[in-house]
């Protein structure tokens, strides 16, 4: 089947006066099929958001990008004006904090109209009608009121709905959700996730859901990619990866979550923290935090290898677990 999004060997480097200072992405490979929800998980600093920004062509100045990003089989770099012409139209982004993602001095309606002005030839009245329909679609009561409201007049949940409505204005093929529910209360978050599933059902867009919350991923993702130190270290269906993880890092993330069975026992924390500078790593980047590491791990750079049908892990000892 043709992939909606295909990221191949994506590397990002930052340099200072010609010398590479950091390489936060070290060859990310991932694919999203049309209508599929891919969860991208990992700790802070693993490269989750950077991957999303690279797909949108929003990398900070001075970042050098290697590798390819193809949308619907077309390289983003081959499209006229690059990713900028795709942004908001073919790919949309929903940010983590709906309270700060909107501009506080314009109404929701004004901000949504900007998107249409850029991508669609619509009259003012048409645009207004379209925006009101979208606001209704995300189940906001009284779209008219939301249209004329400033961001501070709406609750976090309502803002996130408005943000999703805005992202869907041009019927994008791919929606990137960067921690869409982290800033919301659980009951509100649940409704937002349900909304995303419902809209995916009716529009069939693909979703890249960036989250550090494995519970959220378990609830709505079809497949999962676990990122560590700028690489995908395990990928497969949500069921496979979360129920029978094959990389020690994935197991660590799952073990660290408190659950009913952990009451009264210490949690299995992953020792240490994510390396902040990713240069000159020869072996496995996780080896220094891994309980299963052997000498070979420091020497061999593990690549993603199939461990089961549709399930890959980058660990030389994945067969043993």
């Amino acid at each position: 089947m043709k992939q909606l999004l295909e990221v191949r060997e994506l590397e990002i480097e930052f340099s200072d006066r010609g010398a590479v200072t950091n390489r936060p992405l070290r060859g990310v490979n991932l694919t999203i099929a049309p209508g599929e929800i891919l969860g991208v998980v990992g700790e802070t600093g693993c490269g989750k958001s950077l991957t999303g920004l690279a797909i949108l062509g929003l990398l900070p100045n001075g970042a050098r990008q290697l590798g390819t990003i193809a949308l619907d089989g077309t390289l983003a770099t081959d499209t006229p004006h690059g990713a900028a012409s795709l942004r908001g139209k073919v790919i949309s982004l929903v940010f983590q904090n709906p309270g700060t993602a909107f501009n506080p001095v314009f109404t929701i309606g004004q901000q949504m109209r900007e998107v249409l002005k850029r991508h669609k030839a619509m009259s003012r009245a048409e645009a207004r009608g379209h925006i009101l329909r979208q606001l209704g679609l995300v189940q906001l009561p009284n779209p008219e009121r939301v249209f004329g409201s400033y961001p501070h007049e709406l609750s976090g949940g309502m803002l996130q709905r408005a943000m999703i409505a805005m992202a869907l204005l041009c019927e994008p093929r791919l929606l990137i959700l960067d921690e869409p529910t982290t800033a919301l209360d659980v009951t509100v978050a649940k409704k937002i996730l349900e909304l995303i599933l419902e809209l995916r059902g009716s529009f069939g867009f693909g979703v890249m859901l960036i989250s550090h919350n494995l519970g959220v991923v378990r609830d709505i993702c079809d497949r999962v990619a676990v990122l560590y130190a700028g690489r995908v270290i395990e990928t497969g269906t949500t069921q496979d990866v979360l129920a029978s993880p094959r990389h020690p890092y994935t197991r660590g993330l799952l073990g660290a979550l408190p659950g009913p069975e952990s009451v009264g026992r210490p949690l299995v924390a992953i020792p240490g923290s994510v390396p902040s500078r990713l240069l000159g790593i020869n072996g496995c980047a996780f080896a220094n935090r891994c309980a299963m590491a052997i000498d070979e791990c420091l020497a061999t750079d593990p690549i993603l290898q199939p461990v089961a049908q549709g399930h890959e892990a980058a660990c030389i000892r994945s067969a043993e677990s």
Binding site: E43, D185, V186, K190, G201, G215, G255, A256, P258, A269
Partner: protein, 271 residues
């Protein structure tokens, strides 16, 4: 036995444009020595306001808060300050809670200078001991907050809360800003410290699993009221209030939630 912290009918009313808003609306609860009381509820339900009233960081509109049998409302300012030395508080955003221009050494020494007579080498030694207790190395003492990770900053926050050997520590969303792996480290540390020092915690969190993991008792707040309260296992196994059930159902990844996945088949569209 008197409870370590006893709150009776705490009410806190804020006025906004002449309209009264009951942030906390008549809450009573008791925390026994050595116990952890978990407070859950959505943002705006009054959890943090209640905790601040409990330590009288803000005065409640009515109701009393007794710490170790002492009514905090009846104390003079200097007496209140001495009473507060028996408490500590850890905040949600570990980086923002620390003065960015103070080094770790000075940050941890601050409560000791305020509440004790320790100075000079004795003070230094106590700071070193506290850093060691929370799992920080001696080299961290000379760092500034921005040179530390979020988890390390929270360890500094915990060291500050522990400095005066308190009996009660209020933990206001201590791990919400942290990654799960770091959260596990911090929760383990808090459990160890509780055992070593026979601490009581008032733990505020919106994460039900964190509350279940840490607490002996749990209280569920909604719109300023405590709608359900009881031993943690009971509340989680047999929630009696509708709102508690709703919270449990909404908790991401909870077993109640699996129908969410089942009902939504991936849709493939024709290209």
């Amino acid at each position: 036995m008197t409870a370590l912290l006893q709150l009776d009918n705490i009410v806190k009313t804020f006025r906004k444009q002449g309209k009264a808003f009951h942030a906390v609306d008549g809450v009573s609860l008791a925390i026994e020595s050595g116990q952890t009381f978990g407070l859950v509820g959505e943002s705006g339900s009054g959890k943090s306001t209640l905790a601040r009233c409990a330590l009288r960081l803000i005065p409640p509109t009515s109701g009393t808060s007794q710490l170790d049998g002492q009514d905090l409302g009846a104390l003079s300012r200097s007496q209140l300050r001495r009473a507060r030395a028996g408490t500590g508080m850890v905040f949600q955003n570990p980086v923002a809670a620390l003065n960015p221009r103070m080094r770790v050494q000075a940050l941890v020494a601050e409560p000791l200078i305020t509440h004790t007579r320790l100075r000079g080498p004795a003070l230094q030694a106590r700071v070193g001991e506290l850093l060691d207790r929370v799992g920080l190395a001696a080299e961290h003492a000379q760092r500034l907050p921005h040179q530390l990770s979020g988890g390390q900053c929270q360890r500094v926050g915990i060291a500050r809360a522990l400095a005066t050997n308190p009996k009660l520590i209020v933990l206001d969303e201590p791990t919400s800003a942290l990654d799960v792996s770091v959260q596990a480290q911090i929760l383990n540390l808090l459990r160890e410290l509780r055992e070593q020092h026979e601490l009581s915690y008032l733990l505020i969190s919106h994460d039900l699993e964190v509350v279940r993991y840490m607490s002996d008792y749990v209280g569920v707040m909604r719109q300023g009221q405590l709608v359900e309260e009881g031993p943690t296992a009971d509340v989680f196994a047999k929630p009696r209030h509708d709102y508690t059930r709703e919270l449990l159902d909404a908790s991401p990844g909870s077993r109640h939630n699996h129908q969410l996945v089942a009902s939504a088949e991936p849709v493939t569209i024709q290209l």
